[in-house]
């Protein structure tokens, strides 16, 4: 299972009069085991929505449900002190999302739920690092010793450590070189399929969203303006803004 459902999710910053509504009554469903690509330009509210879903930013209104059960601050309601979180997130910038003073292994181990023996935790860390394609010995490397792509792999391993049902991936390749981007996208897609994870995949680039997603949702100024199966949205965009996004994807050899 792992159906993520957003109902009328609203996030407002500042006061009612002068504040900014970053996310405006968003309804969105991530079906179990599927990838929903959320696309839009900078400032459209994508990242705020992601942070609100996992509980890093408080909701002003609306509900987030996992398999029909409402979540509070990213946790099943009434279970405030559980260590296991059903949602986890991979952040945009692999340079700020890993503690520079902790090794890759420590970062991953920390996210493994408590109450497991040390040896088991260590073995699990090794397994996860191997799962994301990091060479043996990476567990002892500090982030400064890893490339951007490798750091993002560690971040993914950490997200998987808590055995989440849903993963939110927020612009996970936009800080990476084009050459590294491909390896991370391949890995994410591969792991998502193998583990049947539900995923909300956020990017401003439709070419990337298209490659990963089953469903595409287009966000603009805090609202979802179009949502549907990936092929429909790409071939028959109904909203003009989707068309603009499509046109903006750089084409090799194409005009500007």
């Amino acid at each position: 299972m792992g159906e993520l459902r957003l109902e009328q999710v609203t996030v407002r910053f500042g006061s009612r009069a002068t504040g900014l509504t970053a996310v405006d009554q968003v309804d969105l469903v991530v079906p179990p085991g599927q990838v929903v690509g959320l696309v839009g330009e900078s400032g459209s509210g994508k990242s705020t929505l992601a942070r609100a879903v996992v509980g890093l930013t408080p909701l002003t209104a609306g509900r987030v449900l996992l398999d029909g059960r409402p979540l509070r601050n990213g946790l099943p309601a009434g279970r405030r002190h559980v260590r296991q979180r059903p949602l986890h997130m991979v952040f945009q910038d692999p340079y700020s999302s890993l503690d520079p003073r902790m090794t890759a292994g420590e970062s991953v181990t920390e996210a493994i739920p408590r109450g497991v023996r040390r040896a088991v935790r260590r073995a699990e860390t090794e397994r996860l690092l191997e799962l994301v394609g990091l060479p043996a010995g990476s567990a002892h490397a500090y982030p400064a010793q890893l490339s951007g792509g490798q750091r993002q792999r560690v971040a993914l391993a950490r997200a998987l450590a808590g055995k989440p049902e849903v993963i939110i991936a927020d612009e996970i390749t936009s800080a990476l070189d084009v050459s590294t981007q491909g390896t991370v996208l391949n890995l994410v897609r591969d792991i998502q399929r193998r583990m049947r994870l539900s995923m909300l995949f956020i990017s401003h680039n439709l070419a990337i969203v298209r490659y990963v997603s089953d469903i595409i949702a287009v966000m603009r100024r805090g609202r979802i303006v179009e949502c549907g199966p990936a092929d429909d949205v790409l071939t028959n965009p109904r909203h003009q803004y989707t068309g603009e996004l499509l046109a903006a994807v750089p084409r090799p050899g194409g005009p500007l």
């Binding site: 900078s42 997130m89 996210a111 060479p135 490397a141 010793q145 591969d190 680039n205 603009e244 903006a248």
Partner: protein, 660 residues
């Protein structure tokens, strides 16, 4: 898969140790450390060695002046002042350190409280701290001294609590910066508790500035303590510290000055030892680590368009400068055999040559660490020591850039080349209005009057399609959106109508809609001014859209040079093919894994013997591993450096990797 990650860069722990050691290598650091060591040594040894002599009462010899028996004379009880000053070192230093420890500990608790207690209780603590910071520490110390009563302990607590607010504020600021970072958010999501969050993630990352400040604070505490004792609020007889000795000696300053001057000198010396050491630490540790040449994109880049203190390029030997041929009128930039090296032996740019004419645009493409940005910075003379720039010829708009740097040359560069950086937020001064920053360029390089320069700035902002430019010119950089800031940055680059525009990853931080707008703008501005454009990007598709010609760089060399129109049809280097295949487009096959460039970019400090790309190349053979292929022209305006160029030309798919 990727190479072993632990191969190149040292671990942070190791880095830390070497950075602390670096403090001792500076003259200031070495002197301060020696002085501090002397003070601490004295604090430990003096009481052991000389307490008896310092405390020996000899009423017959009271109030004597300096003599061979008593170098600094004696006090009312006939005790030797010289030995008393030495022995007092321990108490004075001990009290100063203890007070600092109390201050730092209390400050840490107060400063970290908001993180642990949550938002509401945290706000109350912060408000109290803010209030306390407003009072001068010495005033607070006096206030507490009265509350805690006269004496050592009272003064200690007073000094400790008086320094606490400053540390609380410092801690709060540092914690707030760290708490906003994603790794804290990630740890929260992983269910890490608040206390562990603090001890495991926050404190280790704020330790450095705290230690630096604590060292300086110890010096200040030493001075303040001497003051309290001097006023009679601190150490009480029969104990004595420097402040008390000073107070005793001061009564007879005109008859026996040595008894007052000596403890005063001790206070100054010890206080300076702490302060100087703190300063030396701040100087060495406060400076961000020098970014590796192969560092992350956009990280640790130079902040301002400041041409001062640049690494002057040298002419490669064996060349006769007098022989330099005359440039034709279309030539804007000529780069011949450009090398950039660092003292550690790495050469991130190795023999790059290219030329740019008026109205031409050339794109330099490659991964992080390929040397593309260093090439651009070297051309703009923006590389600082310790980078070393060499070239056979480097000419901009007919001027030889290899000539010694002068005011005139800086002026010339300021008007002939405009630079657009990846992150406009670091290129703009955050506390100056956008318009004024643009106007400064005109005032500085074209000698325009204030009003004229401002009018020009507004005009440029209009040209880069910023709506309501008069209003925007009065705004601060943070008030503009990312795309608008980047357009303003382009406006700034073209303030002086430069012959050459250098754009270093100008759209990497933007979303694709803003990217397209900025690229179109850059193209049209270039076309209007008939300027040359040097465009740096890691995205070969973007380069293909913007430029006439593309230079593909790998490990500091140009490995392929061809017109962008022929990129899809005639690219012959496996690296070029791999870069092309790596960009997902709307036509990418979704059922297959994306093409990737396997492995990691070559380390400029440890280049392999043969072709630098060979370890990542699916076509590499023994020749590639031993012989570096030269950049060869094919007679049709294309150049490539690959032994297997013909095989790639015949079947590009050969050169592309896909991983699971």
């Amino acid at each position: 898969m990727a190479a072993n990650p632990t191969d190149a860069r040292p671990a942070p722990g190791h880095q830390m140790a070497s950075r602390w050691a670096a403090v001792l290598r500076t003259p200031l650091g070495a002197a301060a450390a020696a002085l501090l060591a002397l003070v601490l040594l004295l604090a430990i040894l003096a009481p052991v060695l000389w307490t008896r002599r310092a405390n020996a009462i000899d009423v017959g010899a009271s109030l004597e002046g300096p003599s061979s028996a008593h170098w600094l004379g004696t006090n009312t009880l006939g005790q030797d002042v010289f030995y008393q000053v030495l022995v007092a070192t321990r108490l004075s230093v001990q009290l100063a350190l203890a007070a600092t420890a109390i201050g730092v500990a209390t400050g840490l608790i107060l400063g970290a409280a908001p993180l642990v207690l949550g938002a509401r209780a945290g706000r109350v603590v912060t408000a109290v701290v803010n209030l306390a910071v407003a009072f001068p520490p010495l005033l607070l110390a006096l206030f507490f001294a009265v509350i805690f009563g006269v004496g050592e302990v009272g003064a200690l607590l007073a000094m400790g609590f008086a320094t606490a607010p400053t540390f609380a504020r410092l801690t709060r600021t540092l914690v707030a910066r760290i708490a906003g970072l994603d790794y804290i958010a990630a740890a929260r999501l992983a269910g890490v508790g608040r206390i562990r969050l603090l001890t495991r993630h926050v404190l280790p990352n704020i330790g450095e500035p705290l230690i630096v400040n604590a060292t300086t604070a110890a010096g200040t505490a030493l001075l303040s303590f001497a003051g309290l004792s001097f006023l009679g609020l601190g150490v009480q007889p029969p104990d004595y510290d420097w402040g008390l000795l000073l107070a005793n000696g001061l009564d007879a300053i005109y008859t026996r000055p040595a008894a007052a001057v000596a403890p005063a000198a001790a206070v100054v010396l010890a206080g300076s030892a702490f302060n100087l050491f703190g300063e030396a630490l701040a100087l060495s540790l406060g400076v961000p680590e020098v970014p590796a040449a192969a560092g992350a994109r956009g990280r640790g880049r130079r902040r301002r368009n400041d041409v001062a203190r640049t690494a002057g390029p040298e002419r490669v030997r064996g060349d006769d400068p007098g022989r330099a041929d005359q440039p034709d009128d279309r030539e804007v930039l000529l780069v011949e055999d450009l090398w950039v090296s660092f003292p550690d032996g790495s050469t991130p740019v190795r023999g790059v040559s290219f030329a740019l004419g008026r109205g031409e645009s050339v794109g330099v493409v490659g991964e992080s660490g390929s040397g593309k940005t260093l090439t651009a910075l070297a051309v703009a003379r923006l590389l600082e020591e310790p980078a070393r720039v060499r070239a056979r010829r480097l000419r901009l708009a007919g001027q030889d850039l290899l000539a010694a740097a002068s005011r005139a040359q800086r002026h010339f560069l300021g008007t002939s080349a405009g630079m657009v950086f990846q992150d406009p937020m670091t290129a703009f001064n955050p506390v100056k209005r956008v318009g004024r920053q643009l106007a400064e360029v005109a005032a500085e390089h074209q000698g325009m009057r204030q009003r004229q320069a401002m009018a020009r700035a507004v005009q440029r902002l209009r040209e880069v399609r910023i709506p309501a430019p008069e209003r925007r010119a009065r705004q601060f950089p943070h008030e503009l959106s990312g795309g608008m800031r980047q357009r303003a940055m382009i406006g700034m680059a073209v303030m002086g109508s430069p012959a050459l525009i250098i754009a270093d990853e100008p759209t990497t931080a933007l979303d694709i809609i803003a990217q397209r707008q900025v690229l179109r703008l850059l193209k049209s501005i270039q076309a209007e001014g008939d300027a040359a454009l040097l465009f740096i990007s890691h995205d070969i598709t973007v380069v293909g859209q913007v430029c006439d010609r593309v230079l593909v760089m790998y490990a500091g060399r140009i490995v392929e040079n061809l017109p962008t129109a022929e990129l899809l049809s005639h690219a012959r280097h496996p690296y070029t093919q791999a870069l092309l295949a790596a960009v997902p487009s709307m036509a990418t096959d979704r059922t297959r894994p994306l093409a990737v460039v396997p492995g990691r970019p070559a380390d400029p400090a440890r280049l392999p013997a043969g072709c630098a790309f060979a370890p990542r190349c699916p076509l590499a053979d023994t020749r590639c591993a031993s012989l570096d292929p030269p950049l060869t022209a094919d007679g049709e305006g294309r150049q490539v450096a690959c032994w297997h160029a013909d095989r790639v030309a015949a079947d590009p798919v050969l050169a592309v990797n896909r991983d699971g």
